[in-house]
Amino acid sequence: MTPKVTVNIDGANIKTARGSSVLDAALEHGTCIPHLCRVPYIESIGACRLCIVEHVVNGWSKVTTSCTLLVQEGMVILSNTEKIRKLRRNVAELLVSQAPNSRAIQDIAVRCGVKEVRYPFRNSECVLCGRCVQLCPGTFGVKAIGFVGRGKDRRVESPFDIRSELCNECGSCTDLCPMTVVPCDGPMKTGEEYLCRNCESKMAFAEEQGICISCDFGEGFQCERSPQNF
């Protein structure tokens, strides 16, 4: 049996397996922390920054991504404070301005309480969440795609921008891409982007930001709380 540790997430003491991440522990015990780049059973890379939490040590709190934070005995985590909600809302706003045509990202933004987008819409096809890169099985575990370049030129590409011979055409990358998960019915045209807020009506308590709802979104993202998994 795996050794257990006790962590305190939002005031609840939960026992979870040593070596799991705070995000996994929280999801397992029913605290939904919004997340985008996490792929279950694969080590997280902390790319999307949506799953930020406050980690309280000796009365000081440190904001960090819960997917890359491993559980430790006696850890105190706050996932739904005013500070975190504000930061997370900003992260979600930036994501939705980068890729307004992704239904998945629109959903997340509304769930995180984004009311308006103050940044210019960039209509990018990619938010660099790295889900495809993390999952790509390639051949013999050798990835066929990866991050290339740096800074604002960072992008997902196969070597030399030609399809790698290591690609099995398994389609896992497109299956997991937030641009394709539950695609939006009518992609928003350039110059006509907006925050769709359709899914807001599905939220039980719109004023309670960050609260988990059993949304369609969870289906594609293997959210533990999606209707299928209940």
């Binding site: 990835k143 795609i145 990866g146 290339v148 070597p159 790698s164 290591l166």
Partner: protein
Amino acid sequence: MPPPTLDSILEERRSQPHQLIEVLQDVQEHYGYIAEESMRTISNELGVPLMEVYKVASFYKAFALKPRGKNVITICTGTACHVRGAKLILNQAVGQLGVKPSEVSDDGLFTIEHVNCLGACALGPVVTDNGNYHNHMSPGKLRKLIKSIYKTDAEEISHD
């Protein structure tokens, strides 16, 4: 002296994935750039996935994926140099040589590159030509520098 072959660069480094950056640096130094073919060989010989080699080579500004000119002029456009007018210097270089940044001039003599910091912020704006640092650059000083490089090249050719 002919540049060492890829084989000799890889000597005693085969199957050691952690040597990747050292090997790439040596290839960059001796060939001036890292060709696709070299990357494939390095990937095979070190046992590093090609994706990793390409990722590392494309990440660092120190590695060029396309051939560079004989003289590489690096212009710092970091914060300190930027506020002291790095843009004017970049424009001067681009105008005088007639090439865009990170392209090779028609005569194959020059490549202009801009980097984010050369680590000599107090001396800004900083320009390097083939690794020689020049401090407190101005468009005028750069014009003279480029002229002097042309001159040295012309002398070298006449000596040959």
